[in-house]
Structure formats: structure tokens, C-alpha cells
């Protein structure tokens, strides 16, 4: 019956494991070693019971051989996880930094990749910063399932020197649970920087697989003497394996031994302790301290640049001093300017560009703003003093002045600027006194915020020009309309009708002249232009029209040239002439 329950539990666990998330991690038993000293590499595939790995892993300079495979089942709170652990042995063939690339693992149809790991291989003897490539035997404490250690990069230091440190906490891979975000760490005689949490990784310790949580920080001793760095603590909620029921050991051994299902675990709040360690702190020597020393401890180089190298009178130039290296980047003071007579300099603006999480390696950039009080062709020189803890002595970096073309500005203004007492430079480093005498208000410039082309007088002027142009165009249009053929024809019509009416009302002695005036108004009717017949032909072809007109023109010639001896026309003749003229006027108006 007991076996049946175990088998059912196993089947249930196997089904649940199918849905677990698959994860591949790669870890080393130590990230550093030396030529000829092998290390172990562990490839863990979580969330599956079978995986396909490459036949071999090849890295130039390393000999990597598979030495084992182990399958594990874990059950925590009725969630089952199946893992496959592959163990490799790495034999370093030469010194150097080697990166083992991500390993491709095929799980079913999916391809997964592990993380890459780096192995530092040193020649004999292996330089192991921190004095440890892994936990010391004593720290393991009879292979406790969890333990911690404090790793300092140096065992001896100077007051003020930044010591990178790692707080490492190891948990057996067979444990589950949660660990705290940050450890408890601190004490007297040193300061501690903020912690930087590193990604967890696998590590083999004495043949057992552990998960390593690392917190990077840096400590700075503030007094000399033997300094005891106290213990560090990290809280964790762990699932601790419990005792198995009697008679189950043989069955569990079939699934890889140990406690395959994690069924018999108990939750426990633990505090993992990294034991204290020691640090010998020496005071900084007083001999040989350069005048430019401002507290920098480490190893540094310096680079100086100026920009712009050519400015207008009174404009500032900026000297950028970059101090690069390893040391107390945060705490160290600024370089010192030398031979800065004729310059007005300001306190530099500094910023740190770090290459690590604890501001130990990187650069600190100082920007000095300077204004020439006299015409300058060279910048001030720069000196930076620091204490080199490796050599145990002070050093000084000196940069020569750089060429620059910086003419002095307004000397009165510069003098006013520099007259400010040095004791209270802020908040106005370049005071501008109230200008006297001030120009009268309204004496110059605009008196409105409106742009020039939007101002009233400009718009009014433009509108006046446009109105003038429109008016002129209107005039031209009216004139053109008035001079058109239509209006001319209308006027002619009205004139002819008026002349015809005059002829009708004319007395007998004036009838000929009035009638001739009508005839002259008809197009082509100019009596002096053609001979009589031609004119008659021009007016009309019908004889009944020509006869009255012929008589009229004859009378007209007599009036003009003959002295007027003819009698007045008779009523019938007058009527005939008026009819013909009316006909001609009508034709002319219609045409």
C-alpha cells in the first residue's frame, strides 16, 4: 500500500513537472584557478527530466570533459520540479581569461541556452584577490546546507583606502526558499558603501552543488590599527528537508537518492552568517606628501583637455581634467591648478563615471571654468597628488599648460567681477552692478512684444498700399468699361435719334442742314468723303431710297456752295427724306 501511494505521488509529480518552467544555468566551482588546477563546471537544466546536450564543449586553452549526470526531483508545497545536472571537469592548459560560451540545450523541440561563465586562469602561483577562490574549509562548517563568507580584496590597507569586498552566501542546491534583499553588515572603524547585488550562480563546494548569492560593496577604514570586520548576516526563508518515513529510503534511491520529491521538507526562517574577518590598517605616511594631495588613494592617471581653445574676449574656457584608475573616486578631492595668474577660476564641477558597482574603478571628471583677466595664450597647469597603496608612497601627476587663445574681456567689468570678496562668491559669481547712468526708459528698442511685421502701423501701411492699388485698378477698370465699343454704339444710337428728332422738328429753312446732320451721323454717311453716287450706294441700293437722298444732298450742296437760292422742300419731299433717314438710323442702330 505504501509503495502504491509512492508510485501515485511520483506519477502526479511527473505530470506536474511537465508544466514547470525550464531553465538552464551554468556555474563553476571557482571563477579563478591556476594552470594545472582543475575546476568543476555544473550545467543544471531545471523543469525537465531529459535534455539533449552537445557532444562536447570546446574552448581553446581549456580541456572540458563530462564526468557525471544526475537527475533530481523536488516537491515544495506540492509543486514538483525535475532537474538534470551535468558535471564537467575543466583542466586549464594555459593562463588567461577564458569565456565559456552559452551552452545550447535541446528540450523537446525547444533550444535553450545557458549563461556564459568566465574562468580566470593564472600562472603559478595563482593570484587570488580576496585570498580565496571559494569558501575556506572552515567556513563550510561540516558542509552546512547554507553558510556565508566575507571576501576582502586586501588584508592590509591604509586609512581612507577603498577596499572592494564581497559578501557571499551559499545555499545548497537542494534547498528551496527565498533569501533577503540585502545583508546586515557594518561596524566601527570603517564605512560601508551601498550593496550591489550580483546575479546568483551555481558553484560546487567540496563536490556539492550550491547556489551562491553575492553582494558587492567596498569598505573604507577610517582609523589605523587592527580592524575586525564583523560578521555579515542574511535572512532567508528556507525549505529544509525533513526525515523520511521508515522504509522509504530504498524507494527514493531509485530517483537519484537524496530526498527526491522534497515532500518531507519544513519551512524555516534562518539567518545565514558570514563570519568576521580581519584587516590591518596603516596610517598614511606624512613624508613625501605633495602639495597637490587632496585625499586620493589608489592608482590613477590623468588627462587634460581644454575647450574651446579659442574664445572671444571675456568668454570662459573649460579645462576638463579626467582622473582615471582605481581608488576612492567618490571621496578624493580635485586636482590643483598651477600658474593660474591672470585667470579667474571657479570651483570645478565633478562627476564620476564608474566601471563597477561600487565606484572603485572608473574616472572622475573635473571641469574648471576659467575667464581670462589678461590676454592668455596658455592655460594653467594641473597637478594631482595621490597615495599609491601598492607602492606605499605618494605620487604626483603633472600636466603642462595647454595652448589657448583667450583675450581678456572688458577690464572694468573684469575688475568689478574680481573685486567681489572671495569669502562669499555665491550666489552671484559674476556680479553685474546696476548700470549707471541708465538710459531713459523708452529710449530705444521696441515698445511692444509684437513682431515687426505684425505691428499696427506696418499692417496699416500695407493695407493702405493695397487699398491704393485696388482703387487705381478700379479706376482703370471703370475707364476701360466706359471706353468700350458697347458704350460707344449706345451713345451713337442716342445721338442719331436725337438728330433725327431735330430734323423732324426743324423749320423749312433749316431742314436740309438738320437732315444732313442725321445723314452724316450714320456710319459711312460723311458727305465730304465720297461723291454723291458713291455715298448713295453706300447707304442703300433701292432706288426709292436713293431718290430722296439725292435730292437732299443736292439741296445741301446748294446751301453750302450756291448761296441758298432753292425754295424750301415740299412736305412730300420732306416726308420722304425723313422716312429714308429714319430707315437708315434704324438700320444703323440694329447693325
Amino acid at each position: 500500500m505504501g509503495h502504491l501511494i509512492a508510485i501515485l505521488a511520483f506519477l502526479f509529480a511527473s505530470m506536474a513537472a511537465v508544466h514547470a518552467e525550464t531553465e538552464v544555468t551554468l556555474g563553476l566551482s571557482s571563477p579563478r584557478t591556476q594552470v594545472g588546477a582543475p575546476v568543476e563546471m555544473v550545467l543544471t537544466v531545471r523543469g525537465t527530466r531529459s535534455a539533449e546536450l552537445p557532444a562536447s564543449i570546446r574552448v581553446d586553452g581549456l580541456e572540458i570533459n563530462a564526468i557525471g549526470r544526475q537527475q533530481r526531483f523536488e516537491m515544495r508545497n506540492f509543486q514538483t520540479t525535475s532537474s538534470v545536472v551535468y558535471t564537467y571537469r575543466i583542466q586549464p592548459l594555459r593562463e588567461g581569461d577564458f569565456t565559456i560560451p552559452p551552452v545550447e540545450v535541446k528540450v523537446g523541440d525547444a533550444s535553450l541556452f545557458s549563461n556564459a561563465v568566465t574562468l580566470q586562469v593564472a600562472a603559478l602561483p595563482a593570484p587570488l584577490p580576496g585570498g580565496s577562490a571559494g569558501p575556506s574549509t572552515g567556513a563550510v562548517d561540516d558542509m552546512s546546507p547554507f553558510f556565508g563568507e566575507i571576501v576582502l580584496s586586501r588584508r592590509e590597507a591604509y586609512v581612507g583606502e577603498v577596499i572592494p569586498a564581497e559578501l557571499r552566501f551559499y545555499f545548497s542546491a537542494e534547498l528551496g526558499g527565498e533569501v533577503g534583499d540585502r545583508p546586515e553588515f557594518g561596524g566601527e572603524g570603517f564605512t560601508v558603501q551601498d550593496f550591489a547585488s550580483m546575479p546568483k550562480r551555481e558553484q560546487i563546494v567540496n563536490g556539492a552543488n550550491f547556489v551562491l548569492f553575492t553582494f558587492q560593496t567596498a569598505i573604507t577604514p577610517v582609523k589605523s590599527g587592527s580592524l575586525e570586520v564583523p560578521e555579515a548576516k542574511l535572512g532567508a526563508n528556507l525549505q529544509i528537508p525533513g526525515s523520511r518515513p521508515p522504509g522509504m529510503d530504498d524507494f527514493f534511491r531509485n530517483f537519484g537518492g537524496g530526498d527526491p520529491f522534497g515532500m518531507f521538507t519544513q519551512s524555516r526562517r534562518v539567518e545565514v552568517v558570514a563570519p568576521p574577518t580581519g584587516l590591518e590598517v596603516k596610517p598614511l605616511p606624512s613624508a613625501g606628501k605633495p602639495t597637490s594631495f587632496s585625499g586620493a588613494i589608489g592608482r590613477f592617471s590623468m588627462d587634460v583637455a581644454v575647450e574651446p581653445s579659442r574664445v572671444k574676449p571675456g568668454e570662459p574656457v573649460t579645462m576638463r581634467v579626467t582622473v582615471s584608475g582605481q581608488g576612492n573616486l567618490d571621496a578624493m578631492g580635485a586636482p590643483v591648478l598651477r600658474d593660474d595668474a591672470g585667470w579667474r577660476t571657479y570651483d570645478p564641477v565633478a562627476r564620476v563615471e564608474s566601471r563597477d558597482a561600487v565606484n572603485y574603478s572608473g574616472s572622475k571628471i573635473y571641469e574648471f571654468m576659467m575667464i581670462a583677466l589678461e590676454d592668455q595664450e596658455r592655460t594653467p597647469g594641473v597637478a594631482f597628488g595621490f597615495f599609491d597603496p601598492a607602492a606605499g608612497e605618494y605620487r604626483e601627476l603633472v600636466a603642462d599648460p595647454l595652448p589657448v587663445d583667450a583675450p581678456a574681456g572688458d577690464r572694468q567689468q573684469v575688475a568689478a567681477d574680481t573685486a567681489a570678496p572671495e569669502a562669499e562668491p555665491p550666489p552671484l559669481t559674476t556680479p553685474v552692478a546696476a548700470a549707471t547712468p541708465m538710459p531713459a526708459v523708452g529710449s530705444g528698442g521696441s515698445s511692444t512684444w509684437t513682431p515687426w511685421l505684425g505691428r499696427t502701423w506696418v499692417l496699416v501701411s500695407g493695407g493702405a498700399i493695397a487699398a491704393f492699388a485696388l482703387a487705381w485698378c478700379g479706376f482703370l477698370g471703370v475707364r476701360a468699361f466706359l471706353g468700350s465699343a458697347f458704350l460707344r454704339a449706345a451713345g451713337r444710337r442716342r445721338r442719331l435719334e436725337r438728330l433725327l428728332e431735330n430734323a423732324r422738328r426743324a423749320p423749312d429753312d433749316g431742314f436740309v442742314v438738320a437732315a444732313a446732320a442725321v445723314l452724316e451721323g450714320v456710319p459711312g454717311g460723311d458727305p465730304g468723303a465720297l461723291d454723291l453716287e458713291s455715298r448713295l450706294e453706300a447707304f442703300a441700293a433701292a432706288e426709292e431710297v436713293k431718290v430722296p437722298l439725292r435730292g437732299l444732298l443736292g439741296r445741301l450742296a446748294e446751301v453750302r456752295y450756291g448761296g441758298g437760292g432753292l425754295p424750301p422742300p415740299e412736305a412730300s419731299e420732306r416726308k420722304a427724306v425723313l422716312e429714308v433717314l429714319g430707315h437708315l438710323v434704324k438700320e444703323s442702330n440694329n447693325g
Partner: protein, 262 residues
């Protein structure tokens, strides 16, 4: 007779300028100047501001205010006032020098003047405006004369066309160089601590640049209390509108009610 004519001309000119040269509140200005004479620059600032608020814009008022603010230890406010003085009177070398000093105090590099700034600092803009209007007017007359006079109108037409083109060129030049035109939409970082230019209008967004006090930024659009702008270096991002103030006080196009008035 000559004096009377001169007075009439002056009156016409004042009317053309909108009668804006009248000093509105001389008492505030007198008090402010008295404070400055006594060395109490900080006390003079509110009187200058009251005078400016109640008077037509005037470059010399802003210059005096800016100088008082600088002397009172407010380089940001001083720089803003001096920039406004230069907007109103680009030829005011006194304001230009004082602004250069204020920028130095703020740690801002004094930008070298471009060709447009050089033009406005040497040529009064009313000259090309008036010249352009006269050329356009004359050109219109020439064209109309060409259309009116029978025979020989081609010369009038050519001269008139050239005059109109030249006049339009003058006005276009004014439009391009007018600092008041170019300052539209430009904001001044007024917050003493500066401001952060963010990638998105969210407080937790990534910072793409830092806006230093006294820096200019062109506002491209506004969304709530956030403005999307571009620095003179070409960096674009979002920043809180309340950290800036429009360079042209009358420019409310994008500031809305959210923008403080410095």
C-alpha cells in the same frame, strides 16, 4: 511755423506708434531707482516688476530689472530679464554684456552670435520695414502707371516689378531676423535647480538631458503639465512646464495657464 510743423509730425509719429511711448507709472520706477542708488537691489526688484507690469514693454526697464536681480543674487531672474531686454532692443550692448556675465554665473556657455543676431545687433529693424513698405508701394504705383499710360509703360512695369520684389525681400528679411518672431515658442528654464528632460512625460521616465537654469528650450507641443521641447543642442524630450517661463511674456500660445510668469 517750423516748430509747429515739427510738433505735428511728432504727434503723427506717436499716433502711428500707437501712442505707446507714454510712461505709465513713473513712481514705481523712481522708487526702484532710489533703492538701487541706496544699494538695496533686492528691494528694487518688485518695484521694477510693478513698473514693467503697468507700462509698455521697454528694453531699458528690463535691463535695470535684470541688473538689480543679478546684484541681488538672482542670476536666473537676471538672465531672463536681460534676454527680454535684448529681445526688445537687440542693439543694446549693455544688456548683451550683462547677459554674458549672467550666463557665466549660471555656468552656461555664451553662444556665439549667428548671422541673424549679428544683423539685428547692427541694423535697426524699422529701416528694412519702412524701406520694404516704400519699395512695395512705389512698385505698385509703377505697375499701375504702366497699365495707365499708353505707350512707354514697359519701363514702368519693369521698375515697379523690381521694386515690389525688393520690398518683399526686405520684409522677408525682417521676418527672418526679428528676434521677437524667433522667440515665439521659446521657453526659459526658470527653476533654480533646473529641470530634467525625460524621454516620456512620466516622472519615472529615463532622463535624456538635464536642463540647466537659464537654458532656452523650444516648446514643440504641450500635454497637460508636460511640454515636449527641443534644446538648442537638438535634444528632444519632455519636461514639466512649470519649471520654465515663456521668453516673450505675451506668448501664451503654448504656455496656457500652466506656465508661470517667472
Amino acid at each position: 511755423m517750423g516748430e509747429r510743423l515739427f510738433r505735428i509730425l511728432v504727434a503723427v509719429w506717436v499716433l502711428c506708434m500707437g501712442g505707446q511711448s507714454v510712461v505709465a507709472s513713473p513712481s514705481d520706477l523712481d522708487v526702484a531707482r532710489g533703492k538701487v542708488a541706496d544699494g538695496d537691489h533686492a528691494a528694487a526688484v518688485p518695484y521694477y516688476e510693478a513698473h514693467i507690469a503697468s507700462s509698455p514693454p521697454d528694453a531699458s526697464s528690463y535691463l535695470e530689472l535684470g541688473s538689480a536681480q543679478l546684484a541681488a543674487g538672482d542670476p536666473v531672474g537676471g538672465a531672463l530679464s536681460l534676454r527680454r531686454a535684448l529681445l526688445l532692443d537687440p542693439m543694446n550692448q549693455q544688456a548683451a554684456e550683462a547677459l554674458r556675465g549672467a550666463n557665466n554665473a549660471l555656468g552656461l556657455s555664451s553662444e556665439s552670435p549667428g548671422i541673424l543676431d549679428t544683423i539685428v545687433s547692427h541694423v535697426p529693424l524699422w529701416i528694412p520695414v519702412v524701406g520694404g513698405l516704400l519699395l512695395i508701394g512705389g512698385g505698385v504705383v509703377g505697375l499701375l502707371a504702366a497699365a495707365t499710360v499708353r505707350g512707354g509703360g514697359r519701363r514702368f512695369a519693369l521698375a515697379g516689378g523690381l521694386a515690389i520684389v525688393a520690398g518683399a525681400g526686405c520684409l522677408l528679411l525682417v521676418h527672418l531676423v526679428d528676434p521677437l518672431e524667433r522667440a515665439r515658442g521659446v521657453f526659459f528654464v526658470r527653476a533654480p535647480e533646473g529641470a530634467a528632460m525625460l524621454r516620456t512625460p512620466v516622472e519615472s521616465s529615463e532622463q535624456v538631458a538635464g536642463l540647466r537654469p537659464g537654458q532656452l528650450v523650444e516648446v514643440l507641443s504641450v500635454s497637460g503639465r508636460w511640454a515636449h521641447g527641443e534644446t538648442e543642442g537638438g535634444v528632444r524630450g519632455w519636461f514639466p512646464l512649470e519649471t520654465t517661463t515663456p521668453l516673450v511674456p505675451a506668448d501664451r500660445e503654448v504656455s496656457g495657464a500652466a506656465a508661470g510668469e517667472g
